[in-house]
Symmetry: D2
Subunit: 397 residues, 4 copies
């Protein structure tokens, strides 16, 4: 039998759960894109996006996914032949590097593995070795959804400042914006990349590049028409916001999502909610891990993302668990992306729980509850008291 | 802080959670009510409704809520001055009696209290005393959402048969249809009343009266135009289905809901899901009840509804818990309807968990999880291991 | 080929076109019906409904269609055996009479045919003959959607006043509320019946009974539980508003519709729009009628409804036209209800154009435009200049 | 007063009217992007898109608007320093040229003005002068929404073939796909660019590049990651379809739109509908133009698009008319894009009527009807009989 017939819960690390209010806002006739209400509404998006990103800089909105936003950031800042230092802490760091390469940019990568954050010492060594300042940018992912590691961006900036290195600091916050604390200006981030479908609770289809005046000043002479962040961030005519036709329905959805963030109490409240929910999940996973093979991919809580938790469980228990909770209980977990290749048997020993965006205590406790049921049903050894431990964290709210 | 910002879960005992698919089906332009697709669609509703009710009899659909369906059942079957025997096991039994009274029907009530089912012995005594067969109908609620008691309808019929009493057996399945096993024909039920907003997963606004040939034969000469079940169940013209304008959008929603029931595997699969989920809830409540004051209103599991569970917790803990889980965790529990008056301090010592309709294991485990969090947060004493116990029941799926 | 693939326009005389905003408002999770936002919202409906009805009296909201509202009005005001004078100007007048009859009320009907309004002289004669004041109520339809006649309600009241007859004046505004000017208090109407699916732009499923203090004072001792307007109009507890479970989603839709009326500029603006659009339609129909057989059912413009226009065209031209515009052009016209029986060949010589509720100049000109195309395509003789004549009326806006 | 309160009709040349069915299909929870139903659905899109484009080639879907699709086409086919011959027949031809330029491609443009199609003789002269075959591609817009001109693509190919010129033929069908007849393979088109928000009836946010094997063979070594059409058209892994996260909700909408095209009878039926509706519009505009200053921008019907009609009316009559029909009648017309600058008084002498996608006879006749009303209201001279003339065209259906 199955107990899945009810509202399914998609707990993959993005797209996240779309709020009914966002979907409702998108269920509208097409608006006029030359005059009227849409134009006024769009003018109000940038200030609210910048408040979420904690910056007084600029924001360009792209009709694109996160990969498009990566390319936009690369296209505006680096000329073919210039060098970027990419700090890799999982699949998405490597992915950004590939985008740079395709733009003709020389990529110098440091790989910190799949279970660790950036090591400041290695970073410092690499930058110190660059006496000629050939490295024009340092690119790092704030939260890597594959590993669920969270990098300390302020620490990266501190290394750069200590060395007086002039490179731009470029950060991928696709998985972390409006989830994990991120302070663009205070942390000295020059360029930041995000997308709509995670913390911003809007269907996939919008990418964002935030940039400060330093980055604007460094812009290459002639980026591509589509990626050029200049007119998008500071349009003279409305169509320039989007380099052509506006993504009307996504904008309606994004407006609703930003309103929801404001009504919750602003970005600090959103961060606090995600932190507490993540801690509840960790409490459960740590308790289960007391017996059997379950293990959080990132051991140190200080280095864990609040957006997603990657788990190692070994054998084929990851795939079996995912199948059970989806078919029996209405919960869809994420695959263990980037930990092994899909045709490698080890692939089946991983899974991830997404907990970003429109998520509350009920959804989290439900996810944990059916994971425990799955462990029991499948005979997967696990420690006791996990759900009570999670509930105790929720109780602190 | 609050952890409620996510998809809220309304776990009151009706209206239940409306499936996205039902809401989507209702988001349509108004259809033609004189010709076309709507007419064909409506013709297919009755067979599917009767399959859900396990009857080969008739069904009349009313634009009304459950109270309207009560009135429809009364209006068709009993003349002013005739007598009905009402078996009261909670607020809704009493409510139906009031509707009969307003129709001029004489009501003889037996009250079995708020924590027990119909006692066959008392019923037998009452019927045996009616040698003249002045009692024309016996009315009983299958599941009373106030007390969460479930009556044994087959047992009621057995008493009537044993005595050869010719009264109609009329059953209120508003809370139980498509939730708890109900066999209209096999159990000898003559008239059954239901509504859209619980197991049928459609917004409030439709009432149903199912009736067999015996009840049809007994129909009073001229029931009211609106309540007359004859043309509704066997219309010569389309508008007679609904005694006037069809409830177009509700019908679209109902069609989707009936499709969902069929796709789940039919009514047996739906019953099995509800039973398992109810048992998971009971396992948690029983474990919590090992310490402190929490108590299931209905002690005997065999007498408990699968649609809702009524709890007694005392003091103001019921109201405090309801407030906490709603404001902090995104879960709305039901008030303790009918257990005390709202201005009585005892009012605050009750709550209910609805678990009917579009509910899966994730939703149930989430509800239980945040209830435990609420107990912890509010310092309400409770037994340990409740969530694990619930998960173990889910694991049987 | 067909040119129908686009947004279809349903121009039947109800249900009318549902605004996207209303459908959107209904596309929501089920709300709590015991506490919270829904309760506050519902409290605000009555004042706005009364503003639309131009009354300071009371309003009871029913989960029902218009036939249910008819029955509610009858059930509260007239005892079995009492007499009502029903003024019949089409199918719906006769229909209301049938509802009274089924309640045991004695119906005295005056039939004014299908092409005329109430004749004050005949009314005066009937009332004058009732020296004993056995007639307890006079019931009349404001606008009959079958004939598209509009009765002069103030004139009916004037006759009653002139004779000092104490009967209640009961008016059916199902098709006219929020369409044609209606002044409940100023015109001396005691009871008024309406429904959601026409001028109120909300799916079928809500009926309304407005009543003044005189009618309230005359209420029968114990109307049925479901129809009793007392608790609905003046509830002590929330559930009494709806005699049980609230029609949650319809209420959300109705709220949006009432907001739209207010934002348009209030009921006077809504009336003015409907009048102008109706006059545009008449201009076209009159021009077409200069050749061929097309004829407006109601000759005198002062007696025509602003909600719907009934046409006579003879032969099978009505049915042919309806089929052509629906299949070829995306317009659904109304059948000629009540003019002939469906199995009478004459049935096919009628059609109706609904123009109530959410309708603007574009929709009206489109309807008229494709009707002309249909005339041309089908070789139906018709006068020239009709569309230009209609456009000239629209130009007065 | 205003007669605009009803369903507004947005008749700008894109975004077009979104069908309720498309919006409904998009009103869904986020689907899993790693497994399940979405993956199967996406695999079925390409065949249906190619059927609409009449090609057996390849299609790459981009999260982008039409400008993004332009850039994708340029990025895959032309190296910096290579030459493209751009045939300009309005704003959009020029716009595509700008995108090429920004990619470092040398643009040779021939401007045919704003009221004419490509002149084969000029094209032939330009190609003949390119004996060295430095021109690697010829780029032309099929339908320019600014001028409403439609170019004869087969004629362009004929010139190229006659000269044996090896350049790629690249066509922008953003405004014409699923509107005007377009035969990619039969007409020898190598690369074709389109977008979702016009004939494909899906909100802005998807761009498409169709290409044949010849174009694939010519692909530059390493186009940008995001624009690379290779993996998108022939993905080894699902995420490659979209170069990262799939645009989940747009895909659901596109699926519904493609289903609607199939159900209408396929692309031939869609083309026939658009042609007839365009001819109805032209009949009206030509009749109005018999008096006063109104003039179709493209004189020769054979050169007019079926997607949009650009009008010249002079003075400020364009802006006055647009304002009147929007505020009074619920119709939004397009501005006269590209005919003059917005700060030039001449700007106000133009307007456009979009008639692409989800449009039927009712919508078209309504648009024409209220335009006539606007002429009357504003005292703008115009010929008589326009609406009757349009209706006569519709009658041919």
């Amino acid at each position: 039998m199955t107990l899945a017939h009810g509202r399914p819960y998609l707990a993959i690390p993005g797209p996240s759960v779309m709020p009914d209010r966002v979907l409702n806002a998108m269920h509208q006739p097409a608006p006029n894109i030359y005059e009227g209400a849409l134009l006024d509404m769009v003018a109000g998006l940038a200030p609210d996006l910048k408040a979420v990103a904690r910056t007084s800089g600029h924001v360009a909105i792209y009709i694109a996914n996160g990969h498009g936003a990566w390319e936009a950031a690369a296209n505006n800042t680096l000329r073919p032949g210039e060098k970027v230092l990419v700090l890799v802490t999982g699949r998405f760091g490597a992915g950004w590097g590939e985008v740079f390469t395709r733009q003709g940019v020389e990529v110098q990568a440091i790989d910190f593995g799949k279970r660790a954050t950036v090591d400041p010492a290695q970073l410092e060594a690499a930058l110190a070795a660059d006496a000629a300042h050939e490295i024009k940018a340092v690119a790092v992912v704030h939260v890597d959804t594959a590993t669920s590691v969270k990098n300390d961006i302020a620490a990266v900036r501190a290394v750069m400042d200590r060395l007086g290195h002039p490179a731009l600091l470029m950060v991928d916050c696709i998985a972390s914006l409006a989830v994990d604390r991120f302070e663009m200006d205070a942390w000295g981030v020059d360029v930041m990349v995000a997308a709509s479908q995670k913390g911003l609770m809007t269907p996939p289809g919008l990418g964002f590049v935030f940039f400060n005046d330093k980055a604007a000043a460094r812009q290459v002479e002639s980026p591509s028409f589509y990626w050029d962040w200049g007119p998008r961030a500071n349009p003279a005519m409305f169509y320039q916001y989007f380099g052509g036709t506006a993504p009307t329905h996504h904008l309606l959805g994004l407006r609703a999502a930003l309103d929801m963030i404001a009504e919750e109490g602003g970005i600090e409240a959103v961060w606090a909610r995600h932190e507490k929910l993540a801690r509840a999940a960790w409490a459960a996973f740590e308790a289960w891990g007391q017996e059997g093979r379950l293990e959080l991919n990132i051991a140190d809580p200080a280095l864990r993302a609040h957006a997603v938790t990657a788990l190692r469980i070994g054998g084929d228990d990851g795939s079996r668990l995912r199948a059970w909770v989806e078919q029996k209980a209405g919960l869809t977990l994420g695959i263990g992306l980037g930990m092994a290749e899909p045709d490698d048997p080890a692939w089946h020993g991983f899974f991830r729980l997404g907990h970003m965006g429109h998520i509350n205590a009920h959804m989290m406790m439900g996810a944990l509850g059916v994971i425990e049921a799955g462990f029991v049903a499948l005979g997967i050894p696990h420690g006791k008291g996990a759900l009570a431990a999670a509930a105790a964290v929720i109780a602190e709210a």
